[in-house]
């Protein structure tokens, strides 16, 4: 019994590198009750363990399995297709059903499983006014433009109550480009108008003027969250693709 107490006291001593620990040890050493001192040491060891667990919780926050799974799920869905035609929405679940994307989030249950009115399907978090998405746009055709850091800031939304399956979106698209001999950064800003489609999870924007006048921007929130979007820039008429970007929500 005494040997165990000595061992635990030694362990506690090696652990007790803080002032608080040494103070405790000294105080209980004075009382002279070995059982009380042993309990104090155990409590102190437990406190240390709790601290370690707290640190682990903090680290675990960086790993979100649910988020990871939902991202993987949407990537697999994208790769295998969902069996629905263009402009259709897959209700999901075990019995597959396609409905028109005009019926998604219109306030009426059109899917057998009511998935078209689910809260996560109808979340407007992706296009909240104030959201700023940023990334680098890489042009591969159409116009001779270098890779440029581009931001899409949602500056206004409107959802008319008699047609809720779309959110009308006003955005500001700003493009950084390096100019002049001193390589300073200049920013071009265009105002763009478009809409968000819940069924396809696509934000479509048309810059009204400037160099991008004939270009449409299609951002698909296909990464399982409302924070990252795969964007394609292409000609409005023929839908030829010109540029790509992966945009993510700025903190």
């Amino acid at each position: 019994m005494w040997r165990l107490l000595i061992i635990s006291a030694l362990t506690a001593l090696t652990w007790a590198d803080t002032d608080r620990g040494q103070g405790l040890l000294a105080r209980f050493g004075e009382t002279g009750d070995p059982r009380l001192a042993a309990t104090a040491l155990r409590i102190f060891a437990l406190e240390k363990k709790v601290d370690v667990i707290k640190q682990k919780l903090h680290d675990a926050d960086k790993f979100d399995p649910a988020h990871f799974v939902s991202e993987l799920d949407s990537l697999v869905t994208r790769a295998e297709g969902n069996g629905c035609a263009d402009r259709q929405f897959q209700c999901g679940g075990s019995d597959r059903e396609c409905i028109s994307d005009l019926f998604v989030c219109d306030g009426h249950n059109d899917c057998e499983n009511d998935h078209d009115e689910d809260d996560d399907v109808c979340s407007t978090d992706a296009v909240k006014a104030g959201n700023v998405f940023t990334g680098t746009v890489t042009w591969h055709s159409c116009l001779p433009i270098e890779d440029r850091v581009t931001r899409i800031a949602i500056i206004g939304t409107k959802r008319v109550k008699f047609f809720t399956s779309r959110v009308r979106v006003t955005a500001q698209i700003s493009v950084d480009h390096v100019e002049g001999a001193d390589h300073h950064v200049e920013t071009n800003t265009f105002t763009a108008a478009g809409f968000f489609n819940f069924g396809t999870r696509r934000l479509v924007l048309f810059p009204g003027a400037g160099k991008l006048k004939n270009v449409g921007v299609v951002c698909e929130f296909n990464r399982g969250d409302n924070e990252r979007a795969d964007c394609t820039l292409g000609y409005k008429a023929s839908k030829n693709t010109c540029a790509h970007a992966l945009l993510h929500l700025q903190d």
Binding site: S141, L143, P144, A181, K213, N214, Y235, K236, A237, S238
Partner: protein, 173 residues
């Protein structure tokens, strides 16, 4: 001594670099531009009846005559004074079909080059046709076509049209 020389070199390279970029930007009729124009063109000519072609071509000619008053007398041979006459309408259809031909050839450059040479000879044979007339024709298209087609890409159209027009009017005064 070395530094100023270096600066001059850098500035010169910078200037040429910019010039090259601008040149490309204004003149290059990219593959995507050509596809875009072919796509839009199909929708401008939504059906094969001549009424639509005549109406659009007439609007374009009126725009040219508004901006280049001396151009009108070049077409007396096809009765430009009687715009509803069969002769003038037939001429409008010929112009529209000629352009239709060029746009369809945008995907086969070798044939397009020969066709452009042929068109150039045809226009050289007409006294009084100038480079300025072709410029006016380009601006006329850029003004009229956006009115008959939604999502009309004026920039892509201009980039490609002026390249075509330059070839046709190369030997004109």
């Amino acid at each position: 001594m070395m530094l100023p020389f270096f600066l001059v070199l850098v500035l010169a390279v910078g200037a040429f670099g910019d010039a090259d970029y601008k040149h490309d930007d204004e003149e290059c009729c990219s593959a995507e531009d050509r596809r875009e124009i072919q796509y839009i063109w199909k929708r401008v000519w939504a059906h094969s009846f001549t009424d639509r072609k005549v109406a659009i071509a007439r609007a374009i000619f009126e725009d040219i005559f508004d901006h280049q008053s001396d151009a009108k007398k070049l077409f007396t041979r096809v009765h430009v004074d009687q715009p509803d006459s069969g002769e003038f309408r037939a001429h409008l259809v010929r112009v529209a079909n000629g352009l239709d031909n060029l746009i369809n050839l945008l995907s086969s450059p070798a044939v397009l080059v020969e066709q452009l040479k042929h068109l150039a000879h045809q226009h050289e044979a007409r006294q009084g046709v100038t480079k300025a007339h072709f410029e006016a024709m380009g601006s006329a298209f850029a003004r009229v076509l956006p009115q008959v087609s939604s999502c009309f890409n004026v920039e892509a159209w201009n980039r490609c049209f002026y390249r075509l027009a330059k070839k046709v009017s190369a030997n004109l005064p």
